[in-house]
Symmetry: C2
Subunit: 361 residues, 2 copies
């Protein structure tokens, strides 16, 4: 199998740890590997390094190369400008198809955590076989609570099963629901979270792009033609030449998945976490009996008196003491400090907006 | 008038800002002067620099000299070891008596804040006149709420009054009360907080020490004898020689005030604050409409989203952001960070104890 790892994100929801200069995929969360390294490691037994592609932006090329020295240089694909996941996935598909037109590719985000790696690999391997039969396969995450921050996928008839893993016909990709709707989905038992994990044949996804996103398909055809014979330099020159013709920014969900037929969904329970907020970071770490997690400081450097349900995350080594606090996220990066209640982690984006106004890019 | 300023405290209730190396009296709270400088400045119109004595420990002599260059070197008195406020006050009284046996001295703490300096000076000046008549005078603070952390003084018959200020006969010095008792005191209207502010003739207080604390009086007599004629060096050698004879550590309250007769109390409302906790520090600063005070950071360096009733005190200049928090004390000194709820500021002492265990003296 080939793997396409999307590593172009520049989110700042984990400010001040994640910044535009060092977004989430390059951080050691929970460690010891960075999230990007962990993603490559996770798919390693399914896709060898020479068949693993990373799609990123020019700003991050050097960091990706530094973190993944085992990847051939030509496997780090740089988008001249972000044009959504459809274009990023299409770019990888075109390059892979130039090498092996019938290849199966998996699509993975570089900044998601997965607790149960063995189950994940088994589900992807099963997905690979279903994809080879002509399905667009997506791994869905069986919901454990009525999350309103994710899209859902409704599924119906079973397509195939193998060793406790089953694939179903996807009926609909649905937007982030309101809370009562999310509760219905949870009860219904035929909805999964859309985690952005896909498996398909490259010729299949490129054919769907030709049908639903013809402007993108034209661009990918030109890149694919050079990729079949050209040098890495020639490929990059062609990408630079044709990429500006992409006017729209389109997600794979909106561009393809919500329109295409023949989609199979594999419900999984693999401990998936998109680490979209500090509250979700907190769930990555073991806590003491009071619900506290301390990351980056040894016992000599912190002291918690009457403190509960609090994450203290430090990269500075400075001494930190808390007293009489509950449900806090404390992040100390040395030059920046965030103190946020777990209930209000969504407000970190307001903090970042304010900070940008104040000149702290 | 002479002034004796007690500046030997080494409290750490304002950790991590105050430490043994830099206790509260040497800090700019609320600034721009340090608390010690502010105390000298406050009594300046009543006691000139050459009549102002500071009693401190050897560790702090250099800091006191540096902060108060206007004081003669011989006016900085060093206790070889702390033996309570009775000994500290006695030392100042003995040195002052050697110069002027009938002098009136005021006793002030170097680490208390007073908002209404004019009223304070008027009350002390009135106290000076009462003291000259032969009273041991104490300025009491009219309570504004049922504080359980202070001692109280009950008073009865009026002794004298002048321009809206009155002195009453003190009936009893009482210990820190439980809450219901503190409420009774507040309602009764004849109790004031014992703020440790005294005015008396030096011969009077030395006579009381002779009566109630004869071992201390013996030591003071020897120091006083040298002080009358000796050099600063000779005085310090004598202090070093006789101070070890003081075995007990005795407060002026327990040693003298609770036993002596002829005590006058002057109730005052001068905005006194002993800054005994971070919650009290918070009251020193203006707040915005949400109850937040930011000290040490300009607007470019902090960002408060959905934050209320919070004190952010920084000496580090690092960027700080808060989101969704209420009623916090945040103190950032660069190498140490405290995050404490206002309700639990008393637990800072537990933090300090823990930190000491962990080797952070």
């Amino acid at each position: 199998m080939y793997a396409a790892i999307l590593a172009g994100g520049s989110g700042t929801r984990l400010w001040p740890l994640s910044t535009k200069a060092t977004p989430k995929q390059f951080l050691r969360l929970p460690g010891p590997r960075t999230m990007l390294q962990e993603t490559v490691h996770r798919v390693g037994p399914l896709a060898p390094a020479e068949q693993t592609f990373v799609v990123t932006s020019g700003d991050y090329r050097a960091e990706v190369r530094a973190q993944l020295p085992e990847l051939p240089a030509g496997n780090v694909l740089v988008e001249p400008a972000p044009r959504g996941t459809a274009a990023a996935i299409g770019l990888a598909a075109a390059l892979i198809a130039a090498r092996d037109p019938q290849a199966v590719m998996g699509v993975f985000s570089a900044d998601h955590a997965i607790a149960d790696v063995e189950s994940f690999r088994a589900a992807v391997a099963f997905g690979e076989r279903i994809a080879a039969q002509g399905y667009l396969v997506t791994l869905g995450i069986t919901p454990t609570y009525p999350e309103t921050g994710y899209g859902y996928i409704r599924y119906a008839a079973p397509i195939a099963h193998e060793g406790g893993i089953a694939a179903y016909a996807a009926e609909a990709f649905v937007e982030k629901p309101k809370h009562p709707t999310a509760e219905e989905y949870l009860r219904a038992g035929c909805y999964v979270w859309n985690a952005g994990i896909f498996v398909w044949r490259v010729d299949h996804i490129l054919a769907e792009m030709r049908r639903y996103l013809p402007a993108l398909a034209d661009v990918l055809d030109e890149i694919g033609a050079v990729a079949a014979t050209g040098s890495q330099d020639a490929i990059e020159r062609m990408i630079a030449a044709v990429w500006p013709r992409l006017r729209d920014t389109v997600t794979i969900d909106y561009g393809i998945m919500e329109r295409a037929s023949g989609i199979a969904v594999i419900p999984t329970s693999v401990g998936w976490n998109d680490i979209g907020s500090w509250a979700q970071v907190a769930t990555l770490f073991d806590t003491d009996e009071l619900g506290n997690a301390v990351v980056g400081l040894d016992e000599r450097h912190y002291c918690a008196v009457d403190t509960g349900d609090t994450l203290l995350f430090s990269t500075s080594g400075r001494v930190v003491a808390t007293a009489g606090v509950e449900g806090l996220i404390i992040v100390d990066t040395g030059d920046k400090l965030l103190i946020c209640s777990k209930e209000h982690v969504q407000k970190v984006k307001d903090v970042v907006a304010e900070m940008q106004k104040r000149g702290h890019g």
